[in-house]
């Protein structure tokens, strides 16, 4: 059961998905629900002995039809590894899966915004270690994309296009680039190693991307997450969010993928405390230019 309540003081929706209290929590590998079903073995979510990529409706959904959707995207039938250790071909295939889910979910009348995301690491609340991501299809426009629309209006056009231009002009925070994509630590990053992976060309969604641009996006994403793992020589936790155009007909949006890693050092986490939660203002103890320099070196090491 999902309940949606409007919080008047902040002017935002809050979702109550109380069934999620019962969801599977860090099971041992032999009981992983995202692994393929072994012949004669315990049934998993995917009743096949092998697969490449699988998407299914979340058993414990935050949203469900006719008020949105919640899906799980399983990147591989191999239990170990991560997005960064996928083969190049598999990472490219995943971009097409994302594109397909955006097209199909976004075409639904009850869906106004499609968020493709990945939570990696117990530090950000992962409950299953098998490499996977998720998709939430919201029946309303959430606050973050709404803020991005406001940024478009404030900057007089596509905000990601303008911010990309500024970052390329400055150059100090750019950590990776290829023909289709630029990766940088944003000028006013909230997190020590926050990074934005931005399409060079103005593409509202993955639907408008050329095949080569999808390949470039896969390459850039893998370079970044491998760099993250190399940075502190440990699996690097993060929240990854794919930002695209709302699917309610608005003329806006620019494909970019934002990473919010909670680590500020190899051992220390950034917590959202008094100022962040009470006032909504992030306090950071790392300059973006310094973390960008470290991340550039780590990406080179991770290749």
């Amino acid at each position: 059961m999902t309940d949606l309540r409007y919080e008047e003081l902040r002017g935002e929706q809050v979702v109550y998905a109380i069934d999620r209290q019962e969801r599977t929590f860090l099971p041992p590998a032999e009981h992983c629900p995202l692994c393929p079903t072994a012949p004669g073995g315990e049934p998993t979510e995917i009743p096949f002995a092998a697969f490449e990529i699988a998407v299914f409706e979340n058993r414990f959904p935050a949203f469900r039809a006719p008020h949105g959707a919640a899906e799980v995207v399983v990147y591989t039938d191999v239990h170990t590894g991560s997005f960064g250790t996928l083969s190049t071909e598999r990472a490219r295939e995943l971009m097409w899966v994302w594109r397909h889910r955006y097209a199909e979910l976004g075409a639904r009348e009850d869906v106004e915004y499609v968020l493709i995301f990945e939570n990696r690491g117990v530090e950000v609340g992962v409950t299953l270690h098998h490499p996977h991501g998720q998709i939430y299809a919201y029946p309303f426009l959430p606050p973050v994309p709404a803020l991005e629309l406001a940024a478009d209006a404030r900057l007089g056009g596509c905000a990601p296009c303008e911010l990309l231009r500024r970052e390329l002009d400055d150059g100090r925070r750019v950590v990776y680039e290829n023909d289709g994509v630029v990766v940088y630590v944003p000028y006013a990053a909230r997190w020590a190693y926050e990074a934005h992976v931005v399409m060079r060309a103005h593409r509202p969604s993955l639907l408008e991307c050329e095949p080569g641009e999808l390949d470039a996006l896969a390459e850039a994403l893998q370079a970044l997450v491998r760099g993250y793992d190399a940075l502190f020589e440990r699996p690097f936790p993060y929240v990854m969010a794919v930002h695209q155009a709302p699917t309610d007909g608005r003329a806006c949006g620019h494909v970019h993928v934002e990473f919010y890693p909670p680590l500020r050092t190899a051992e220390k986490l950034k917590y959202l405390a008094g100022s962040e939660q009470g006032a909504g203002t992030f306090i950071s103890d790392t300059l973006p230019e310094e973390s960008a320099a470290a991340l550039r070196r780590a990406i080179a090491d991770g290749e």
């Binding site: 990529i53 594109r99 596509c158 103005h202 509202p204 003329a251």
Partner: protein, 53 residues
């Protein structure tokens, strides 16, 4: 900027479909939830190699 809306369609899903360089097969799980399995379309001589690097 062009108006952006994925095409709204009530066309019934096919069981197997191609989408760019991938093919998808739709299934319904025992409890009624949807499951889609995706695979890359390969040439006849192309080996299946998708293990983690």
């Amino acid at each position: 900027m062009a108006k952006h809306t994925p095409q709204k369609s009530d066309e019934k899903d096919k069981r197997s479909e191609s989408f760019g360089p991938i093919v998808l097969t739709r299934h319904v799980k025992d409890d009624g939830r949807a499951l889609i399995v995706y695979a890359r379309i390969r040439g006849e001589d192309e080996p299946v190699e998708d293990r983690p690097s």
